[in-house]
Point group: C2
Chain length 305, copies 2
Amino acid sequence: MAVIYQRVALIGLGLIAGSMSLAMRRAGLAGEITGYARSAETRAIATETGLVDRVCESAAAAVEGADLVVLCVPVGVMGAVAAEIAPALKAGATVSDVGSVKRAVIEAVAPHLPDTVDFIPAHPLAGTEHSGPRSGFAELFDNRWCILISDGVRNRPAVDRLRALWEGMGAHVDEMDADHHDLVLAVTSHTPHLIAYTMVGVADDLRRVTDSEVIKYSAAGFRDFTRIAASDPTMWRDVFLNNKDATLEILGRFTEELFALQRAIRLGDGDHLHDYFTRTRAIRRGIIDAGQDTAAPNFGRGSKG
Amino acid sequence: MAVIYQRVALIGLGLIAGSMSLAMRRAGLAGEITGYARSAETRAIATETGLVDRVCESAAAAVEGADLVVLCVPVGVMGAVAAEIAPALKAGATVSDVGSVKRAVIEAVAPHLPDTVDFIPAHPLAGTEHSGPRSGFAELFDNRWCILISDGVRNRPAVDRLRALWEGMGAHVDEMDADHHDLVLAVTSHTPHLIAYTMVGVADDLRRVTDSEVIKYSAAGFRDFTRIAASDPTMWRDVFLNNKDATLEILGRFTEELFALQRAIRLGDGDHLHDYFTRTRAIRRGIIDAGQDTAAPNFGRGSKG
């Protein structure tokens, strides 16, 4: 594949930035990749492992001369980072981000940026429970979706170029507006995470069931919740603080449905339960058909635990 | 390994029974395995695939002469099946089951059984989202836990023999009383399943987010819920109807915690959220250390989707 950006700057060097660097290298999409992280330890690890081509000592130094700048920092500090790099941005550069919420990021970042750059927010829907500069891998985005928020962008070629970069890193690309993104993600990601965190917290609190019992018997369903609930706490705090309205709306609906099922259990209404459980099965089939998961029993974990 | 039971009868021929048959064969644990399923189609498939050594035309015929009879039917029909097989049971036989709840199964089954047999309820904590006579595989129980309810059993050698069978099929075995089992499972399995079903139902209902969006963007967390929520509806209806008290208790605690987190989101209390999310991370580490899941990013799904 051809080089799409001569110089790419990654601000923040965690799971997503590291995977982007490795995925861009895999396909030869960038001439040079610079990087910066606030933590000196992270910068040292990135230097040692050669995660990017050049680790810089400040965000402003990293973005100097960059054709594409990607903010890979927690949503809560996007605004401050944007303010810091704004004076150093090259005219004609594209600025993007990888935050899990989009309306709040636009409100925090856009006011700081000069008119000479295009801001195209992005959200790659990929991740693991791991974080930090050693957690990235080149295949993270393969066959995953990346959503671009393009509706406010006047420079269409800049959008197409960023789209080509994400496709070159293995992702499928969709475009939508920021509010719809935040609602879709509240349903498919933010509320499920909050629920998983809650369930794990309940198990941890329950005195009559020991932690070791919870752990030993987790294969029966709980395990998948703990994987979700092990994600980066700072990232998730920022997600909920910054996608408050949509998350609270979906939580309200969730509670309503949960109470209806709870009532069916209390009343012994087996038909209600059976109908509900049958309906949800169809969605699962759709996910497998769409190639977003495998139908292999137990994700292949059956034989090795 | 040596033969542990000369003749084993499996009543019901779904995921668990099929996997038991294949796991017993793998280790040579049974002289002959007979089987029965109510559905003629299931019996035909089991005959065609040689799932067991001999498919019988009635439950009573299958248990005749059996040293071990395992009820692998939904919890809601355990009592009726027990009544049906009781007259045909061999004196000295062991009767067991694989139901996901234990107090209700004991209450339904025990009154029907003659004094000449030992009833030792069991619950293998293993499964996939698949069901039916073609879904079993020999490795299902490897490194998984099987809980035996042994506290009411006077014949200790019978318990040890059943324990040896489960260990021979690859499982670790624990013993506890029925009520504690039901509470532990309400936390680690039943409530997580109900929550997953609910979340999937909410997504399905939401008009402003299309099903295709839910499916496309499921990798961000929702996917793991749909896997859980795709399990057999009849089995899960019976679980909730038969473990009502413990499930409602855990649901009550869950709702309480969820409301506290919801309040923190509404008030913008980032410290509360961050503390909570940090605490739940530790449980995940324990599960990986205990060998009940893999730390591999994304369960190895990253590269193939």
